[in-house]
Amino acid sequence: MVNLMNRIPRFWISSGTIVAIVALWFVVTNAGLVGPSYLPSPQALFSSFKRLLESGYQRTPLWEHIGISLFRALSGFLLGVAVGIPTGLMTGYNRSADAAMSPIMAFIRPIPPIAFIPMVVLYFGLGEEGKVILIFITAFNYAHINAHAGAAHVPIAYIRAARTLGLTPGQIFRKVVFPAALPHIFTGLKVAMALSWAVVVAAELVGAQKGLGFMISDAAQVFQIPVVFIGIALIGFIGLALNMTLSVAESRIVHWKGR
């Protein structure tokens, strides 16, 4: 059986798994083996999704919940990487810069971003600034660390080659250290993106009136189970889409990686 399966292209086997799971889910819920308050049936999820699309959740359209979560995550992410990448490159390349920044980074690094949520709500209330700042700290942390690793691991042959070719230190930083660090920078971007998305959902669980995190938390409190499932699925799909976007960008820009 397994020998036969090895000759079928990967796509069909993976699709087969999905079909099998959906079929199992259909049977289990419709036969009453699992109650609707634990696992809604596929039809229940589908009609719930239709209702969300038509009338939104808590008088806010669905796209607005999705949009506000994305806005918070992406603004914090972009600000965080805009600061984290240059500072990371500098501390990775220059020992004095590293010495200056390392006490700060050593302190911030081990703190899970989620731990800052109560503080953010205390200082900034339920407004947007607090959440963006939280995401900023998260994205900055991971973008910085990976950019630092990228700059610190530039092969010394590249630096020596650049010096012998007559480049100034500024040119070496821009034209050699930065491109050489791009593979690490992209790793940092992907991690920062994934965590920014996770943290925005976490922040919305406790301190928001709109957004996907708010939606699943609120729906759970009033036992609207299908909405919870749909919310989680949406969070998953959007996270996946964000990651895939970065992967595509990476394969275009860092075309030499892994060769």
Partner: protein, 277 residues
């Protein structure tokens, strides 16, 4: 056409007499010590009292066992490292920093993987502000000389090791350097490619006449390519033998099987073997 190569040996005690004006690179009583790494106390003496005079347009090989300090000596000419004692002089002046007048061909891959072959070759001259009219023509000539015309738009990862080294050579020569430093450039290549590259170095010398300082652990390569071979002792490194190779250039493969070549090779191998204990 090919004369008998003369073999002149100088003992390590004799100092080379140099005429000053013709000397391109001079080591004046150079020593280099490194502090021991980790918890160990004391220091390692890499080179001790090195005295070398290299003339303009000379091709000199530095031959020696691993750890004898030959790379350290080259790094000091390149400007990557500085002597603990003594001076390394270029045209009579102390070397303070790396520069395009002393181009380097590295042992490891040092081409920038995000740039094409052509972009790699012109990277240095372009960044220094040389006019594109000047450097594009030179780049074209050099790529043709190293037989890589047609590969301008390729990326380094699409090239074999030998081809990458050829790009390095083109990149080094585009600034028309007075000194070309080659640090075991062909060590990672197979013997056929290595032979091709050695012939290429000789051809390029005939065309451009740089002073070439060539590090190798391969005795045959040293004899084939150089005017002069400096055999270094094991750590702390000093010049053990200074051998002249009088075979006129360009040299063909016939030189490799000539009696003088075989003699020289035997003598050098014996001397080298003594150092590897």
């Amino acid at each position: 056409m090919y004369h008998k190569a003369a073999l002149r040996l100088m003992s390590s005690e004799a100092r080379p007499t140099y005429s000053g004006a013709e000397d391109k690179v001079v080591f004046e009583d150079v020593s280099k010590t490194y502090p021991k790494s980790g918890a160990a106390a004391g220091s390692t003496v890499a080179i001790k009292s090195l005295n070398i005079a290299i003339k303009k347009a000379e091709i000199v090989s530095i031959l020696g066992p691993t750890g004898c300090g030959k790379s350290t000596a080259m790094n000091m000419i390149a400007g990557f490292e500085f002597p603990s004692h003594g001076q390394v002089l270029l045209d009579g002046k102390s070397i303070l920093a790396p520069g395009p007048d002393r181009a380097v061909v590295f042992q490891q891959a040092s081409l920038f993987p995000w740039l094409t072959v052509l972009e790699n070759v012109v990277f240095g001259v372009k960044s220094r502000g040389v006019s594109p009219d000047i450097y594009s023509k030179r780049a074209e000539q050099l790529l043709k000389a190293v037989k890589l015309n047609g590969f301008e738009k390729h990326y380094p990862y699409q090239l074999s090791g030998g081809m990458q080294q050829r790009v390095q050579i083109a990149r080094a020569l585009i600034s028309e350097p007075e000194v070309l430093l080659m640090d075991e450039p062909f060590g990672a290549l197979d013997s056929q490619t290595r032979l091709m590259m050695q012939e290429l170095v000789l051809q390029l010398w005939v065309a451009y006449r740089p002073t070439i300082i060539f590090i190798t652990h391969d005795v045959a390569e040293a004899i084939f390519v150089s005017d002069r071979i400096l055999l270094m002792s094991s750590r702390p490194g000093r010049v053990k033998l200074d051998v002249s190779v009088d075979e006129p250039k360009p040299r063909g493969l016939e030189f490799l099987s000539s009696a003088s070549f075989v003699d020289m090779q035997a003598n050098l191998l014996t001397a080298l073997k003594e150092e590897v204990h």
